[in-house]
């Protein structure tokens, strides 16, 4: 790897790495028995999300609660897609500005 990477080229490399990581679960799923892989592929994201929520509070969350949460989860997924869909460039930074800090100012 070159030592003089610019921020932009570094981010380009990093993005490639992230894309590779994102592909890992799919490859892993392909290695599982066919029926499990089929089940995972067929599971809707909302149901997977609900399964995770169930794990947050397994003692208290019943089926009726999960049914009530389904609409929230579906909205979160839709909102996620809409937020990701808005055109932004790499230079668009988030609102809170982080600043280095020293106790003595």
């Amino acid at each position: 790897m070159k030592n003089n990477l610019s921020r932009r080229t570094f981010i380009g490399h990093a993005a490639g790495g992230i894309a590779s990581l994102a592909a890992v679960p799919a490859l892993a799923a392909d290695e599982k028995p066919a029926e499990i892989a089929a089940g995972l592929n067929a599971a809707k994201p909302a149901e997977l999300w609900l399964a995770l929520i169930k794990q947050l509070d397994p003692e208290r969350l019943g089926d009726e609660h999960l049914a009530a949460l389904r609409a929230d989860v579906q909205w979160n997924l839709r909102r996620s897609a809409l937020l990701s869909g808005l055109a932004m460039t790499n230079a668009d930074e988030p609102a809170p500005v982080f600043r280095a800090w020293r106790a003595e100012g």
């Binding site: 947050l56 609660h65 929230d72 937020l83 609102a95």
Partner: protein, 463 residues
């Protein structure tokens, strides 16, 4: 000394004049409003704690100071109420939630401290929607103190999440109150209860000692009888605070020097989906403004204000209150929907929060460009009057909307003011909203003062 009923409806400036004129003492005034709180505010579920002992101590101090020639300014000796998310030394601070009923944060919030230094008298901690509404409540009954009731009609909601501040000021039980707004929590109760409310610019007022719902969106501000009162209160509570890193270094002074003509802009289509009476009152308000203003029409840029606000609030709320899942506190929430509001929010992907904060920058820039040529944008405060307490909001408000004005202004951190402008369905108040450029509260206050000189909606009383 027994004070006349009219005292309950006087503004801060008039109360101060009469106090200094010897018509009554600060202790008389405190006793009078403590009684009003018991008689008028408690039946509206507007009160969590009456702080009688502290009020009488502060009032005695105010009288002693005045007698010694120490005048602390316009709020000297004036009673007020504070939304129960502001910490107060030695007094419970419940955040409206059953699981925090016994919580005592033994330090005065910066706002409470500044009001004490200005001579104001804390008379009550006022009710609020549990955790300031961050869990997604859809009904009036969302606080352990019961549903906030409207002083104009006890079967209607007071608005929230600053329910107690709205209905206590509306009922003449306190001359002013401090509320908080993350996205609508000052504008809504002030609008529904027929009082004047000011949402200051984000960072104008320190939140140290206030419950955090959303660190990057929470703001504190006054609800009172008039725009002039809001300015006097803002002057006392504004200013940088090292204990709140978000507080601005910009100094604030309330001045009366801004005069007409004002440059105003209405938003295209803003009244297309509001109740007929709201629309009629809005149009009549524009006719009041027209003789001393230029009125242009602009369009709200097409940006996902609601989605950005919703994502930011949900994620920050989830971080702030994650512990309620582990200790079971979330299951003690009054509104059933609030018991589930935390679960889904905890799993929102980090990239959604960051994308929302990135889009927020675009929203800030777009709205600043929109507002910069004007002194204020003008709109109906809310699309409808307050709904009945026994109906979900989603049912009563279905079909009514002021588009995305509430999340837009809040995401951008812009100041806004609401003032009463008439009555609508079931005799309930409607409001007129002004939205300004960041740190331009004085322009909004000047426009509102002029409007209130020409109208008497702010002087109407529910009883």
């Amino acid at each position: 000394m027994a004070l006349a009923n009219d005292v309950a409806w006087m503004g801060v400036r008039e109360l101060g004049t009469r106090l200094r004129g010897g018509e009554f003492t600060a202790v008389d005034l405190a006793r009078f409003f403590l009684d009003r709180i018991e008689q008028k505010a408690k039946p509206l579920n507007a009160v969590v704690t009456v702080t009688a002992e502290r009020a009488l101590d502060e009032a005695r101090q105010a009288d002693e100071d005045l007698a010694a020639g120490r005048d602390r300014g316009p709020l000297h000796g004036i009673p007020y109420g504070a939304k129960d998310l502001l910490s107060t030394r030695g007094i419970a601070t419940t955040w409206g939630a059953a699981c925090f009923k016994q919580q005592v944060i033994d330090e005065d919030a910066t706002v409470i401290r500044r009001l004490r230094e200005a001579g104001a008298v804390l008379a009550a901690k006022l009710s609020m929607v549990e955790l300031a509404g961050g869990l997604g409540y859809d009904q009036a009954n969302a606080s352990f103190t019961g549903p906030g009731l409207n002083p104009y009609d006890n079967s209607a909601w007071s608005g929230g999440s600053s329910s107690g501040p709205g209905s206590a000021v509306g009922a003449g039980a306190v001359p002013f109150a401090i509320g908080s707004e993350t996205s609508g929590s000052i504008m809504t109760p002030a609008g529904y209860c027929g009082v004047t409310g000011l949402r200051p610019t984000y960072g104008r007022v320190s939140r140290h000692g206030a419950m955090a719902l959303s660190w990057s969106m929470d703001k504190l501000g006054p609800l009172s009888r008039t725009a002039d009162d809001c300015g006097l209160v803002l002057a006392a509570i504004a200013g940088h605070d090292p204990l709140d890193p978000s507080s601005s270094e910009r100094a604030y002074a309330y001045t009366l020097d801004q005069q007409p003509p004002f440059r105003l802009a209405t938003l295209k289509g803003i009244a297309d989906h509001v109740q007929p009476e709201v629309k009629a009152n809005y149009q009549r308000s524009l006719e009041v403004l027209r003789p001393f203003s230029t009125l242009s029409e602009v369009e709200l840029p097409d940006l996902p204000y609601g989605m950005v606000a919703g994502t930011i609030i949900a994620c920050e709320m989830a971080a702030a209150f994650e512990g309620l899942l582990a200790d079971g506190g979330v299951w003690q929430m009054t509104a059933p929907e609030d018991r589930l509001g935390l679960h889904a929010a905890l799993l929102i992907p980090a990239k959604d929060y960051i994308n929302a904060q990135r889009i927020r920058v675009k929203i800030q820039q777009a709205l600043d460009s929109l507002v910069a040529p004007y002194d204020a944008l003008v709109a109906p405060t809310l699309a409808s009057v307050a709904g009945p307490i026994d109906k979900p909001f989603s049912e009563y408000q279905r079909g009514f909307s002021t588009r995305e004005l509430t999340p837009a202004g809040n995401v951008a951190g812009l100041p806004a003011l609401t003032m009463p402008n008439g009555f609508g369905e079931r005799g309930l108040p409607t409001g007129l909203k002004l939205i300004g450029r960041a740190f331009e509260e004085n322009r909004l206050l000047a426009i509102a003062r002029k409007y209130q000189q020409l109208t008497d909606w702010h002087r109407r009383r529910p009883f």
